[in-house]
Amino acid sequence: MIKRSFFTSKLLPYFLILPQFLVTATFFYWPALQGLVQSVMRSDPFGQHSTFIWLDNFIALFTDPLYLKSIGTTLFFSASVAAVSISIGLFIATMANRALKARALVRTMLVWPYAVAPAISGILWLFLLHPSYGVVAIAIKRWLGLDWNPVLDGKDALFMVIMASSWKQISYNFVFFIAGMQAIPGSLIEAAAMDGASPFRRFWKITLPLLSPTLFFVTVMNIIYSFFETFGVIHMMTQGGPGGATNILVYKVYQDGFIGLDLGSSAAQSIVLMTLIIVITVLQFKYVERKVQYAG
């Protein structure tokens, strides 16, 4: 759908797009190009000399057990964050959608964690899960009888960052699910109820299938969130430790590039991440187009 009615002006349109073009060229295209160049170069830490080394940086990356481990950690981490925050968000939205009278109030009480920075979520949960003072940590120790030490135990640390990252995302998912559920015609649900379908059956057979475009979109957004925006959570809570147990890809780019000053490897890692997110975006656009088709 492209507009047919246009203004005619020689210079104005260029002038209007100029600010966008300038910031994009300066802070997007040039850095991306630099990244591409650096990813096929080996430089000394001071950036004085660099030699062209073909794809050696990438080969080194994918044969590095630490990087492979980081990929595994990232996949597990984002799958868990998406699963936890989507299922809780969906559950609360289903309940809220039934409670017609209190829906606005419920939304107000659930929407605000959206505004909490991932890093701040990290601080809150660092306190709740603190091995000596944290109330949730005490509950884990006393009621579940588990040993809890996220400072030393990698699994505990990973669990901790998953909790902090998922908590913040519940409200984002909730907002989308409740909007999606409100868009489902009430007559469909009523017809099913009249045919004797139980609430659970109606959820599985009507609500969930009709919600699937929202569910897909939310899943993609959750994956992007857990890949990139959770940097703040990791940096506040564990700094990638202990022993690399919470070192997700975006944190490793930062560590290898800024702390380790390994420019080539960091650039290659950035390229890998960029490719990954481009693939996700393209997939999403394809799917969104399909959704538009069945709506019309």
């Binding site: 349109p13 910031v23 605000w112 505004a115 000596s132 907002v175 506040m236 960091s266």
Partner: protein, 306 residues
Amino acid sequence: MVEKTPILDTLTYILLMLGIVVVGFPIIYSIIAATLPIEAVSKVPMPLIPGDQFWVNIQTAWEKGNLGTNLVNSFIMAAGITFGKIVVSMLGAFSIVYFDYRLRTVAFITVFCTLMLPVEVRILPTYEMAANLLGPLQSIWDLLHLNGLVSWFAGHEIEVTLEWGLLDSYPGLILPLVASATCTFLFRQFFLTIPEELCEAAKMDGASPMVFFRKILFPLSKTNIAALIVIEFVYGWNQYLWPLLITTNPKMLTAVIGLQNLIPAADDLPYWNVALAGTLIVMLPPVLVVLLMQRWFVKGLVDPEK
């Protein structure tokens, strides 16, 4: 609701209450902790009755975490990103949707290639760019061996270095985060839903493009702008990685990053009451914005094209 089943209804409300409590628990607990003295907060388990040390803790956090300066910095960054993104993207979308020019498709593609690629995936080169905005010019300069030319011209050895850095500055905090096409895309989608007749009528009445923009497009976009203000303000305020890289001067720290100085280290006294008091202050502005502008925010987040 379809059936009238009191049991199911009650269950719904109970589960809903439980959900709200679980989601709200970290905050409720932190608020209580922020009112307690250090002896109480380090007791196991911590008492759940609020104490009377709230203002004391807030004051300590304010001084220890240098919150005054940091909050101002965060506010400037968030407001700058919000304002910059909305202005840049609205003008850009106006150009792409309402004008026909030779490079229109090229402009469209160059802008939208950046969609959804967050700053996190290109941190190092973007950092280098911010460290010296004239870096690209310098590369061209070096490539053309212009130093030699200048030296020859002047008759003695001259080394020309072009430098204009944005580290530890507000533009450095703001500009790289403005470089994203998400808002432009949303405005484009919205402009495409505006009836074509409006533009026709404006043209017939002899309105210039900018008059059309000011008198028609801008008022129609108010809801979208309100929604984007909330979303971008929250986004800007909560930035972490970029400010962490680009600021080294303590006077330029943002509030979220500054909180790290308040978290008690392993061998410190566990001043969690102070740390959480500071955390509550820092999270308050975006939470207030979301709560007060909830209607626009939800609409803008879920349904940005209308």
